[in-house]
């Protein structure tokens, strides 16, 4: 059982404190935009924001989020999230799309901290987000594109 803010709404989830947040979000809260890829903090498909910081929800537990603020891909909004989505759509980034919830949340977190990221900043922030379709080339370009949209 945990009570926390989920996408801006106070929520109580009736789940074992040892259950990974990933599965609680997906199967208790019904938010399936957060994906399962590895369960071991190796792929980033399950990335969510915990108090504004990107975390792997497969290695974050229900017991850890009491009183915290959790944002999933369904709830990511505001100018940075909008700029990121607009860039993703303009550059047609997704292929299978399975990793993209995680990529987008990682990009939103990066741009919120670093509005004009260098390639090295992008590498540092998104290297943990695997894309087996290798859309990396466009992810990088889309982050730069989102940065210029935010500047404009």
């Amino acid at each position: 059982m945990a009570t926390f803010t989920l996408n801006g709404v106070e929520t109580t989830l009736d789940a074992d404190p040892n259950m990974p947040l990933l599965w609680a979000l997906r199967e208790k809260a019904g938010l399936t935009g957060t994906k399962f890829g590895c369960g071991l903090a190796q792929c980033g498909a399950c990335t969510v924001h915990l108090d504004g910081v990107p975390v792997r929800s497969c290695q974050t537990f229900v017991g850890d989020v009491e009183g915290a603020e959790v944002v999933t891909v369904e709830g990511a909004e505001g100018p940075v999230a909008e700029a990121v989505r607009a860039a993703w759509v303009a550059l047609d980034v997704p292929q299978c799309g399975y990793c993209q919830s995680g990529q987008i949340l990682a990009a939103v977190a990066l741009l919120s901290e670093t509005p004009k990221p260098s390639d090295a900043d992008i590498d540092g922030a998104l290297d943990g987000n695997l894309c087996r379709c290798a859309t990396y080339h466009r992810i990088r370009a889309a982050i730069h594109d989102a940065a210029s949209r935010l500047e404009a």
């Binding site: 399962f36 071991l40 989505r85 993703w88 590498d123 290798a134």
Partner: protein
Amino acid sequence: MLSNARPDLRFALKKLQSAPVSRRRFLIGATATATGLAVGFHSLPSGAAEGGTPAQSATPSPFASYIELSEEGVVTVLSSQFEMGQGSYHGLATLVVEELDCGWQAVSVVGASGNTQLYGNLMWGGVAQGTGGSTSIATSWTRYRTAAATMKAMLVAAAAEAWGVPADEIEAAEGRLVHTASGRAAGYGDFARPAAALPVPQEVTLKAPGAWSQIGNPEVKRYDRRAKTDGTQDFTLDVRLPGMLTAVMIHPPKFGATLKSFDASGAREMPGVVEVVEVSRGIAVVAEDTWSAIDASHAVTAEWDESAAEQRGSAEILAQYRELARQAPQALAREEGDALGTLAGAERVIEAEFEFPFLAHAALEPMNAVARMNEGGSLEVWGGHQIPDLYRFLASQIAEISPEQVRLHVLKTGGGFGRRAVGDGDVVVEAVEVAKALGWRAPVKVQWTRENDMRGGRYRPAYVHRLRAALGPDGKPLAWDNHIVGQSIVAGTPFAGLIRDGVDATSVEGASTLPYAIPNLRVGLTTTDVKVPVLWWRAVGSTHTAYATEVFIDELAEAAGADPVQYRLDLLADHPRHAAVLRLAAEKAGWGQALPEGRFHGVAVHESFASFVAQVAEVSMEGGQVRVHKVVCAVDCGIAVNPDTIKAQMEGGIGFGLGAILQEELTLTEGAVDQANYDSYRPLRLSQMPEVEVHIVESDASPTGVGEPGLPPIGPAVANAVAKASGRRIRVLPFEKGLNA
């Protein structure tokens, strides 16, 4: 995946239909026969003519076969082709939007299945529905354009009748019908019902290429891109049904081992656990939710009978392959002139041995499927069904019902790369078996963990290539001998008919089709018997043959003191499409011009799945590590239906292939897989991705595939650059191993 470049596949599948040898081999044929649709594919329209020439159309009504049109005007393309990220849904939608003139506003695509006559892959002779060999556009090119043009003609006819005006005065555009003279206008949806009731026109005229507004338009973006940025795109992982249970599998620790006994008493006590059952492929831990099933699976102990299991490590397997490679091949895939004689008498002989590891598909969505038995005895199965007809048949066998009682929901999948096209239907079979073991009392999702997925088998086979060449006085190759050693992908599967005269085409493709003019040439194959389950892995045979042949030809150029591009071009006089992409990539990359200090160019060209791709890689060595900065890619895939998707597939193929040659390797120790997750099996990461520049050759040839052909050249292009940078030819993959070998 299955190749349209292999004419024998049609033959193979047909043979299965008419002459079943064993039950397994009979599957495809039985599927078709059981659905009563084994014949008649060739009467499907294949000859609707291009621009201006009326074509004979034996099209079934397009309504509800290939396209649904709602009364609200929503266009739903019923796709015969599976979407795993490669953009096939978008490609088919593009063909439909082009000919239907419905605009993109109200277009969606869903997977269709259950009708081989409508959806059979024409590149496979139409005998089964399936996706593979980069054939989606090729099989759909005429079929879906004809369906859309037919639907448009029927809508126009319905409006003409209702308005009492001549059909040829009605314009159809952006989903609206307009008769300017009378001032009448309506949306397509308004005529969906009356149009569907009209007779199907016997002739339709497809647009001439000059009239295309969608095909070839680089501004057309994927119709599904928004759902893939806001979390609304569903996959099999996301299927939720009332009362659904989730099962996690425990598979044998070694390939070929079988279950002796298990103890699940602890697991059964755990919260959320419903049942622990034995099925043909292992043990299933069934729970109310996924986490409970995963958690409880660790509490099950099992004993396995390993007497028939593979016990060798991958190092032993590869050492044996090296020995075999030095002996005579079992079978010849190609023989011209006298390669052995020429080599024996030659003054200059160059030799090389290449070693390729097992590789995992490691798609980001781990394998999964959902099965539900309905009241009344019909079975529904949700999943990434890449070979629907086969899976429908397999599911019906387990459920002991007829294939007609099985309904498949073909969902988009989170990456495939060949993994979802399996002859034994692995996870699909598991889902149905588990649901059956529970007495059909609830819908069941079988969800593999990453560890299940990594260790579940079905890898790109390991191979060894031995190459020898004799150079003439002018430096050109006089003889070429290539011996390939490795497992057959198709042996013992419904596709075994692909083996001809002891040669599995998927083992040698790309090597047996070497384009270079060499008078004495031999390509041999030795097929090995190893119990590691193998499968097509994006670009199949070309994943290793392109590497071995293109690194070796580069080495010959070096030995001849020739420029690697010119050396190839001199041997490609009879292969203009190879030569054209090679020239284009070289020109765009500035081949031969000075590069920044420490940077080197390498090149490769390869044909796979009837598309031609050349790449120039710009590489440096940093602290003993290979760094790829930029790749310039030229592709000829015939008519470019979706230029942006083609570019994306080239980029993706390059990234996928680069990860494999740099660092991916699936190894076994005493028969057990060493890797379990992405910490030890490591696909490419963002920081390793080079800049990619793609150039598409303008062409009016029929469109061919792009899902796979971007991959084969990247390995050899990088290796050839590394040879310049370091003086070393990497012959053992991945590079991480080869650089230290």
